[in-house]
Amino acid sequence: MRKLFFVIERDLRMFVQYKFLIIMRAIWFVSQVAFFGLIASRMVVPQLADIYFEYYVAGVVVMMLYSASVFIGYDIFEEAEHGVFEYLLSLPVSRKELVLGRSIGGGIRSFILVGPLIAITLFIIGLANPVNFLIAFFSLFLFAFGVSGMSITIAVGLKSADRFDILMGVLNAFIIRLSTTMYPQVFVQEANLAYAKVSEFNPVTFASDLFRWGVGIERYFTMTPMPLAAIIGLVIFFAIFTFVGITIYERRLEGGGWR
């Protein structure tokens, strides 16, 4: 257990190096909220107009959490390129502890990045029920760990930084847009049934709906009963990617399989 904490601590320390990434993400958040969110909320149909700004801001937080959690995959490529893998393997830490630690470390550091933005969001939206918020907040950890696990799985599976970069870019483009981060499910369904099907089973949708439930935006949920349905979805997502991630990463680590 102590060794696991060491792995997590290392990933957290490394994250502090990415101060420019943090600044860039903060600029992105402000632009999304202060420009797009504000103006788009004046463009929408009357039945959505009263809550769209708050709805969108909550979605932006989940988008941020997703993109920050993905970042651990880029670290893995950087380490492979600079020969840090060999160093990590020489440490008295088991492969399982290493992978689980990295997945948890990746998730926690995305929360460090998103934490201040969640505080800003709470300031904008307000907090209707602190207990609901805490349930949602801790469930989002599962989402962050799951996304980190997914990123690690793809990173070690592809073995090419270029391909990883493009795949994550494409995945990001589709997984975010085919979710309820920017718009409620009912409108996605109206627009296109195929999009709605994907959106319904998208972990980003589970996380967005859950976060909105936590901050008291209780209209336009995708699934019922809330929050149980979303939490179950996130637990399944977390379990699959943490398990698969650990198994694949562990296998790739042996015998220089990451090269």
Partner: protein, 261 residues
């Protein structure tokens, strides 16, 4: 002239090395158009456009074309920044090419790469919104070339002024987001003006959105394809001024930086 063509060829060869990056970019643009805009069709209040537009998709398609043009034309800055940091420009200086030809070649290559990348997006826009007349097409292409050259100049100017890669990437992010969101790419200029009059958006932002070359580029395509906003010479003027300022600045800055010891 031949030397400039060689530089353009060199930059085009480099451009195709980023095929993965380009594939990612185009998929993001297509996701914006084919998913986000399609869903926003159902969300955007039809009264907002006072019946002038059939859908948000029709409004957004020219915007996404300009987005693609911006992102691809801006790529030249990343390469120039890398060359300056790794001192590859010493090799460039050893070539039998004048400094000015080198700078102009890079500038034009950046713009032309943007135009090339944007062409499929523009064709998709034409397919959905209808084709313009030949004279309108020429105006659109000319205006977009001005925009692409200006963007290329802006990225080169930023790349040579900021030698640290991290700082360049941060500055690029800032430029991207300010120009993207303070423009009429996602929402009509008239709405931005109204929100400004209502005090919901500060006036400097409204002015920035109106002078933003991305707004002029997107609105110019819209004016010919969907008839709103009305085409004005101001659109061309904005693009010409933007292009002139950044072409000159980047050429001077590039010549100066590659000669620095």
């Amino acid at each position: 002239m031949k030397a400039v063509l060689h530089i353009i060829e060199y930059d085009f060869r480099n451009f195709f090395r980023y095929k993965w990056w380009l594939a990612g970019l185009i998929s993001m643009n297509l996701a914006d158009l084919l998913i986000m805009a399609v869903v926003y069709n159902k969300i955007v209040n039809p009264d907002l456009f006072l019946g002038q537009l059939k859908s948000y998709f029709n409004f957004f398609a020219p915007g996404v074309t300009v987005l693609g043009l911006f992102a691809s034309a801006f790529m030249i800055g990343r390469e120039v920044n890398m060359e300056v940091r790794r001192e590859i420009h010493h090799y460039m200086l050893s070539l039998p090419i004048t400094r000015l030809e080198l700078a102009v070649g890079r500038l034009l290559a950046g713009g032309l790469r943007g135009m090339m990348y944007m062409t499929p997006l523009l064709l998709i826009t034409f397919l959905f919104l209808g084709f313009p007349s030949p004279s309108q097409l020429l105006i659109i292409l000319g205006a977009l070339m001005l925009l692409a050259t200006g963007i290329s100049g802006l990225s080169i100017a930023a790349a040579v002024s900021i030698t640290s890669f991290e700082k360049f990437v941060t500055a690029r992010g800032l430029i991207y987001y300010v120009l993207f969101f303070c423009s009429s790419i996602f929402y009509p200029s008239s709405l931005i003006r109204t929100l400004g009059q209502d005090g919901l958006i500060p006036q400097p932002i409204v002015v920035l959105a109106e002078l933003n070359p991305l707004s002029s580029g997107a609105d110019l395509i819209r004016s010919f394809l969907i008839g709103t906003p009305i085409f004005t010479l101001e659109m061309i003027r904005n693009l010409a001024i933007f292009s002139m300022i950044f072409s000159t600045t980047s050429t001077l800055a590039y010549v100066k930086i590659i000669e620095r010891k």
